[in-house]
Symmetry: C2
Subunit: 247 residues, 2 copies
Amino acid sequence: MARILPLNQDITLSVIKTACSGCNLRELCLPYGLSLEELERLDDLVSTRRRIKRGDHLYRVSEPFDAIYAIRSGFFKTDVLLEDGREQVTGFQMAGELLGLDGISTEYHTCNAIALEDSEVCSIPFNRLEQLSREIHTLQHHFHKVMSREIVRDHGVMMLLGTMRAEERLATFLLNLSQRFTARGFSHAEFNLRMTREEIGSYLGLKLETVSRAFSRFHDEGYIAVQQKHIRILDVDGLKAMMSHRV
Amino acid sequence: MARILPLNQDITLSVIKTACSGCNLRELCLPYGLSLEELERLDDLVSTRRRIKRGDHLYRVSEPFDAIYAIRSGFFKTDVLLEDGREQVTGFQMAGELLGLDGISTEYHTCNAIALEDSEVCSIPFNRLEQLSREIHTLQHHFHKVMSREIVRDHGVMMLLGTMRAEERLATFLLNLSQRFTARGFSHAEFNLRMTREEIGSYLGLKLETVSRAFSRFHDEGYIAVQQKHIRILDVDGLKAMMSHRV
DNA sequence: GTTTCGGATTGATCCAAGTCAACCGTAAAA
DNA sequence: TTTTACGGTTGACTTGGATCAATCCGAAAC
């Protein structure tokens, strides 16, 4: 996937495709709402791409922060660690989503970002993003919305961790994944989990055995078909009922 | 609290005092790091003050968003509600902290902000803040840091809710409060809680009885003196040990 | 084709926190 | 001053999820 210099119209097109203006994720990602002219100015900034192999870190706690990352393809988890080794997965991120916002605050990263499959990200140097968003109002506003959306998402996770029972948590998680896959043009009903039961458990504040039992329960109830990491949702309403069924 | 036109030097001073440039919280709040000239431009924007009585809402879920709020004095909680009435307190906010960042994402508020004591906030119209931060780099960058800090704080809460035992949660909570009171020039060792045991419990993902028992335990161990809402921290190291003592 | 190994499942048991209930203390209302 | 009411404490008991442990399964390595 080496970058090819534009020699003729067709090849030019293929190069444009690797920039924001040609990226099919642009409506989910940072460029949302930008005009063509503005999009081209963003292209200049988002020039470097980085491949991350499954299991590798995109960044680690306490590394200096200087860029945020837009996921071009692949799947990530972010986590924070306690001194005694306890891990909390703070999120799973997929194509079009931004990583690294945690680093703005202290100029050091405060969580780890780890690829759960071979992935590709676009680096966005943060000082240049701030500069451009001083010039492009739409970009500025959209960036603020993205950060705010992350805060709102976090509130949802707090609600989940603070008040929901195990099966409600898992149902909420599955429906959220389904909805995000749908937004990316994939089946809402059938997908492969990229994370282990342990990672799901860490995210949901449960042990892996509890996650596994909840999967089995949903399977037995006929809400989903589970085969290891492959999930088929058979009864969305059943799951939705689980999501809110107190006791 | 009608605004008084400056007629002489003394009155001018008193007006300045009600603006950011004269506010003694400015180093904790939005104006952090601004030059005097920049500060004055921010003053124009942060002109309206609002008093909120104990128990009243500053804003509610689904109200249209158009401003963020800086707490001038007082104490707030923010919460989110599930359809069946379950409440999750997502944070407690004190002087110098910002409220309303959740609303940027959808242009509607997604949580409730409720005063836990008679309070006063400064309204900051958000479109004007964006405008000014396009002109003042320092303001833009600081605002981004504040949003990012909120995301990092949320990660800490997820860690607390996802991995810590009851007493670790309460110790973490008390030390966090203590640290924030210290930053505001109050005693680190002695303070009044503004929230009930139930609200603490909701924030920490515990029932009020469990919170009460944990307080009693800390009391019995000699870490703190508790008398209803009045707390005296007697042994910071003891509490810190609780914070990380697995089982 | 067989082995290996990490992840997933399932069962048996335990325990931290929830639930239910009684009672206490303090501050506001009468 | 007494009453009321709400928040807080404490005790007895229950329970959902953790823990411990034994397999199981499937993909990758041999």
